[in-house]
């Protein structure tokens, strides 16, 4: 027995199926990139840095954009509204989980406070890749960052080469409780130990948070070790502010060029000092590559490929000889405009 209602229902079903087929076809024909596979929803990734205004994060962003274009995925780049604010970062994590993005990449501002947000995201079906700074535990796909120990060891090797024999070394540490710089310092000290003849005369002084405090600490340190009288043959500093503070102190004491100096990170002023021979070398991270590899790790995982638990994005030494080479220039001044439309 067929009643009228049944016919109507069938007609409606047919109409819906037809409409869906037409709609589906037109959608498939829409511009979505030649590589887009049918029936697979386009991946949408969220990247959360520690801040958005520093040059370092802009380079990471540019690298991430490059990778997202190559892999044909959508990318949302959103940092905490207040720079370096823990609460905003936790809010962002929650917000992206509520949006059900395909995956999240996070540079955690604190290694413990973000763990529960990361686990909540993983439970809700948005896997998380950590980049730049480590997370203590948590359900994480992969950790993509500079191997700071290796980067510190790079500086030790260079100083050994520069001295070519015995020498008295000084390390001005950055700040208590800063994990990344601590690893650089430890990597440096471990590297120094492999060169007999090199002696570390001071490694317990801290530069503190600002250039100002680093400058004051450097002056004290140089005086205490009798640097002017030949008590110091080489110096290592683990970040931008300590490097700049130490440079100012060496300049003031008229010791630049007399003491070998390897620093970390770059700015216009530090590049000038390298060119003038005041700094022997600077260790550089590779933020652009970090952005690229982070997106690759996340997309590989989402597309079912195996991903390494830890990826080192590497570090490079910049000195007077190589600083004009294109490969190094790309680290110093990446072509942000090309990727960020700025």
């Amino acid at each position: 027995m067929i009643d009228v209602g049944d016919v109507q229902r069938r007609l409606l079903t047919f109409a819906l199926v037809a409409a869906f087929a037409v709609f589906g076809c037109s959608k498939r024909g829409a511009p979505g990139g030649a590589g887009a596979k049918p029936n697979v929803p386009r991946l949408r990734l969220a990247l959360i840095p520690k801040g958005t205004t520093h040059e370092f994060w802009k380079s990471v962003h540019a690298g991430a954009v490059k990778a997202s274009r190559e892999l044909d995925v959508d990318l949302v780049w959103k940092g905490p509204l207040k720079e370096d604010d823990l609460k905003s970062q936790i809010d962002l994590m929650q917000s992206f989980v509520a949006q059900k993005v395909s995956g999240i990449a996070l540079a955690p501002l604190n290694d413990k406070a973000l763990v529960s947000s990361v686990n909540a995201a993983a439970r809700a079906g948005s896997p998380v890749v950590i980049f730049d700074s480590a997370l203590s535990g948590g359900n994480v796909v992969s950790f993509v960052a500079t191997d700071n120990r290796a980067a510190g060891a790079l500086a030790a090797t260079r100083i050994a080469e520069l001295l070519g024999g015995p020498g008295k070394l000084v390390v001005l540490r950055y700040q208590e409780g800063s994990a990344s710089t601590h690893e650089r310092e430890e990597g440096f000290l471990a590297g120094v130990k492999t060169h007999p003849g090199l002696e570390v005369v001071s490694d317990n002084q801290y530069g503190g948070p600002t250039t100002e405090s680093a400058f004051a600490a450097s002056e004290r340190l140089l005086l205490a070790q009798n640097a002017a009288g030949g008590g110091v043959s080489a110096v290592f500093t683990p970040n931008e502010s300590t490097t700049f503070g130490m440079l100012l102190a060496l300049e003031k004491a008229k010791l630049t060029g007399k003491i070998h100096f390897v620093g970390f990170d770059i700015s216009d002023k530090l590049a000038k000092a390298v060119r003038a021979g005041e700094i022997d070398a600077l260790v550089l991270q590779k933020p652009f590559k970090m952005g690229e590899l982070t997106v690759h790790a996340l997309v590989d995982h989402l597309r079912g490929k195996a991903v390494e638990a830890r990826t080192d994005t590497g570090a490079e030494l910049l000195d007077r000889k190589n600083m004009n080479q294109p490969a190094i220039q790309e680290l110093v001044k990446p072509d942000l405009a090309k990727w960020l439309n700025e």
Partner: protein
């Protein structure tokens, strides 16, 4: 109908509905729906609780610029006490007590010391921030939260966490105190005209001190919720929270001249700011656009409200 329109929370409610609808249209796949709503309520809790205290202070014609620092201080105190192994009850009690004392001091200086509340709390904003940093040894404090984190952890599906219920309960209590107690009437009277209130025999100084202490207590609760969200004591946390709380009160129909404002309006104001923040994230606007937009919406919302009441 006219009576209803005159209610101070009608304007912010209309603004909230309009903005919510707007973002639901712009991001239909993700913005509307239970999970996001829960997330937004959770993210509003800290601002909402601290703006409850701010509502009383502003009704009085005063201001409290120190609540951002006070929230950070509470998060640090809670973390330190937990770290020492003294248990959750002691941690929460001491955390709230710390800001009750600082709030009380604000009140004493303002009422008995005759220093403008703006200046008093501008000072305590800096003092409390410094104390928080000193107490924390200038770094974030890791402490096992001993279950305190569940206050702000989402339940299954779209269930509201305890912290949101606590916020609502405090709001109801605040509204009752404001509208149905002698103390509440006194606050409104002082905010409308302090001299008249004094002539009527209201103990102005005592009420002012009590209001700042009350604001401190609510700020302390907000600080506990903040710790529950962060799970670390962070001395640099909540910079600028006081401005968000002031904005919530003003969007909710409060007047910085005192005597005007409501608990319901303040809650709606706080929620409106979260909706804008979250909506901008869902639509994918960059931070600088979001900041401009937030500012414009605040001024427009308050502007329309003032026009309506003319």
């Amino acid at each position: 109908m006219k009576e209803l329109l005159r209610r101070s929370w009608v304007g912010p409610l209309a603004a909230l509905v309009a903005v919510y609808a707007l973002f639901s249209v712009l991001a239909p796949a993700t913005f509307p729906g239970g999970v996001n709503l829960t997330t937004m309520l959770r993210q509003t809790a800290v601002v909402a609780v601290s703006s409850l205290g701010m509502t009383f202070v502003i009704l009085l014609g005063g201001i409290d610029l120190s609540i951002g620092s006070a929230v950070a201080l509470t998060s640090v105190v809670v973390a330190r006490v937990l770290q020492s192994g003294a248990g959750v009850v002691a941690a929460v009690t001491l955390g709230v007590l710390a800001t009750v004392v600082t709030g009380w001091l604000n009140g004493v200086l303002a009422a008995r010391g005759k220093i403008t509340p703006f200046i008093v709390t501008l000072g305590s904003m800096s003092v409390l921030r410094g104390v928080a940093k000193g107490l924390a040894g200038e770094q974030k404090i890791d402490a096992d939260p001993h279950g305190l984190e569940h206050l702000m952890t989402a339940g299954a599906g779209a269930a509201l966490p305890a912290g949101v219920w606590l916020t609502l309960a405090l709001a109801v209590a605040a509204a009752i105190v404001l509208h149905f107690t002698v103390f509440g009437r006194h606050v409104l009277a002082i905010g409308s005209n302090e001299n008249t209130a004094r002539l009527c025999g209201i103990p102005v100084e005592r009420v002012v001190v009590a209001v700042y202490a009350l604001c401190g207590a609510l700020t302390g609760v907000a600080g506990v919720l903040e710790f529950s969200t962060l799970t670390v004591g962070d001395p640099t946390d909540s910079i600028g929270l006081e401005l968000e709380a002031i904005a919530a009160v003003v969007i909710g129909g409060g007047s910085l001249a005192g005597g005007q404002g409501s608990v319901a309006g303040t809650l709606l104001g706080a929620l409106l700011m979260t909706v804008i923040k979250t909506g901008c994230t869902h639509v994918g606007l960059p931070n600088w656009v979001q900041e401009i937009l937030t500012g414009v919406i605040i001024v427009v919302a308050v502007g329309i409200d003032r026009l309506r009441r003319r």
